[in-house]
Subunit: 206 residues, 2 copies
DNA sequence: GACTCAATTCTAACAGCGTTAGATAATTTA
DNA sequence: TAAATTATCTAACGCTGTTAGAATTGAGTC
């Protein structure tokens, strides 16, 4: 039921994208803390209030940046998975691609943590946006569940594997980017690799 | 080299503790977002500016709350570990105690995420406070490394196990408290339990 | 009891934040 | 050209963490 977008809509979408570019730019240079709505507006050549014509709130801008980031993540995972030949390799490739994406894009991880942790609180984002982000994350991770099932796991078990991999990767990424605990020579990517290999071996023998 | 604290020092310490109680109280009722310096001051019966006589910044108050929380965590882990008889049980008990502490104290987890992620940025906390918090976290987790070594792992490997357990628990806790990904019937505590059992079995046969 | 000096708290303000109402400018439509 | 809609700006509100400087409190001394 979607009709061709009018010229006006295209222009509007383009302006939104310019604002999002400004947001990403400020975000990259100043981090999440420095990415105030005013800073974003200034960089985009706007007055703060003007942004409210294109987005309903600052969090909505953040959410859209995150949404696009999750789409990129999904693409990155899919691309890596596509180069493999076996279910074992698919699981490993998907897990590592997920890990690597956030190892390479720490700001995106910041944003994810910020919105995913705070988003449910007071009227944050609203259920629609919220569900959309959840779905995008799950979609990006889905190859892990698919590969697990191909390795003989039940659907329930396959989803559990997906959740486990997500949790482990997330925890390691947190460690990687904050350096809270000394790693004693071990590297986060190596630990992720080892975790996935163990999981695959474990699935193979059940 | 530490001498008995004077009466004046004791009073000062008591007032600090009252402020920290107010902080915990606001934090419990309003969450991290609602725990503004002004809200804390009001609850403690102070004017906002008065808090700066006892703490150097709002983040310093947060940091002290977190420090005490990490001490409690260490106690909780130690207490559970003390009830066990074997190295296998110690590892399992320590991992589960860590997980359970933050499952039961979501606000403390919020605080940890907030300070641990943002703390390194612009002049946040300073290296001393920062190192102190890191050390407290590592101390709380140490029983995991100890038990791993008792199970025959090298010191390097034992520390790796500690890091892995921390990462997995952290990731699952994030999931537990935000419900970002559907868990498909699996429960986070069960997943943590399964992870630890696997790790223990894996250590046993090396 | 009055004086002093330090410890403690308050008042008032600053600059920054997200957000909103209402006026204004720019663009499209009739 | 006139009207109407779209887009942006100005100005303000109430919030935030923080600071300077004045006022208050409290203890120790003459």
């Amino acid at each position: 039921m979607q009709m061709r977008e009018s010229r006006k809509e295209a222009v509007s979408r383009h302006k939104r994208e310019l604002i999002l570019d400004a947001a990403r730019s400020v975000f990259a240079e100043e981090g999440l803390e420095g990415a105030s709505l005013r800073a974003i507006a200034t960089r985009a050549g706007y007055t703060p209030a003007a942004l409210y014509f294109h987005f309903e709130s600052k969090e909505a801008i953040y959410a859209e940046v995150l949404r696009q980031s999750l789409a990129s993540l999904g693409d990155a995972v899919s691309a890596d998975v596509a180069t493999t030949r076996s279910a074992r390799q698919r699981l490993h490739a998907a897990g590592m691609a997920f890990f690597r994406y956030y190892a390479d894009h720490p700001r995106d991880l910041d944003l994810g943590f910020y919105l995913f942790r705070g988003g449910m609180k007071p009227a944050g984002l609203g259920h629609d946006r919220d569900h959309e982000l959840n779905a995008a994350l799950e979609a990006a991770l889905h190859p892990i569940a698919e590969a697990s099932e191909a390795l003989g796991a039940s659907r329930q078990k396959a989803n559990t594997v997906m959740v486990d991999c997500f949790a482990h990767a997330t925890g390691l990424l947190l460690l990687l980017h904050t350096g809270r605990i000394r790693m004693f020579g071990a590297s986060a990517p190596d630990l992720m690799d080892a975790y996935l290999r163990d999981k695959i071996a474990q699935l193979g023998k059940e």
